[in-house]
Point group: C2
DNA sequence: AAAATAGGTGACCATTTGGTCACATGTCAA
DNA sequence: TTGACATGTGACCAAATGGTCACCTATTTT
C-alpha cells in the first residue's frame, strides 16, 4: 500500500507542522527566497536556526529544493510531492462515502462548537 | 489564510503518524469496526491502549467518528475533512509550478536513491 | 588580506508524543 | 446479582520534536 512509503511518510510528517506550512506559503508568495530572507519573515516568532531546522525537514520531504548560489542559497517550492500524495492517497478517501456521511459530519460540527 | 485554522491543523497533525493512517486504512477496508476489533488488528505492533490514543487524535480531527452501541463503540471513517483539506489547501499548491519543476524533481530523485 | 556577510553544525533544553500498565466504569448474560 | 466483557482514565516513561545558542565555514567586498 502506498500509504507506507517512506516518501509519503516524510511528506505527511513535514506538513504536520503549521510553521512549516507557513514556510511553504511564504515560498508560494515569493519563490526563490534565500534562507536569510525567509528567516527575516519569521523573525518575530523564531530564530534563523529554527527556520533552518524546518527547512531541513521540508527538503527531506522534497517539498522544498535549495539551490546554492555563491554564499547564498535560494529555496524553491516543489509541489510535486503534494500532488502525488493528493493523487495516490487522498483521492482514495475523498471520493468515497462522502455523500453518505456529510449529514453526520454536520451533526457532529453542530455539537462541538468549542 | 485557511492554512492556519485549527481544524486544518488537527487534520494534518492526525495524518502525520503512519499508524494513524493505517487505522484509517483499516476502517476503509471495513468501516464500523469496534475498538476491540480494530485493536486486534494491531495486536502485533501495539496494545489496545495505543490504538485508543490514536483513535482519540483521529476523532479530535473528525476523521473518525465513534458511535456508542451498548457496551461497544463502532468507529466510522469520515472523509469530509480530508476532502476539505484537499480542496482548500492542497489544490492551491498542486496546480501551480508543476510542469516547470517536474524536471528538477526527477533530477533530485535520481540523486537520492538511498 | 581582513572584515563583513550568509549559511551550517552540534550540543543542549523543554515540551510533546507514542506507548505501556493498573485500575475504574458501564453493560450484557446467566 | 454476579460475573464476564468492552471500553475508558490517569499516571507514568522513553523517545522524538521544536527551539535556542556558541561557534565554524565559505564567499564576497574593500
Amino acid at each position: 500500500m502506498v500509504t507506507y512509503f517512506r516518501a509519503v511518510d516524510e511528506v505527511f510528517r513535514a506538513l504536520a507542522d503549521p510553521t512549516r506550512r507557513q514556510i511553504l506559503d511564504a515560498l508560494f508568495e515569493r519563490d526563490g527566497q534565500t534562507v536569510g530572507e525567509l528567516a527575516d519573515g519569521f523573525a518575530d516568532s523564531m530564530s534563523r536556526f529554527g527556520v533552518m531546522k524546518h527547512l531541513a525537514v521540508l527538503e527531506e520531504a522534497n517539498l522544498v529544493i535549495g539551490v546554492r548560489q555563491g554564499r547564498t542559497r535560494t529555496l524553491h517550492l516543489n509541489p510535486v510531492p503534494i500532488e502525488q500524495v493528493a493523487n495516490r492517497w487522498i483521492s482514495k478517501y475523498a471520493a468515497r462515502f462522502t455523500s453518505a456521511l456529510v449529514g453526520l459530519q454536520q451533526h457532529v460540527e453542530s455539537r462541538e462548537h468549542a
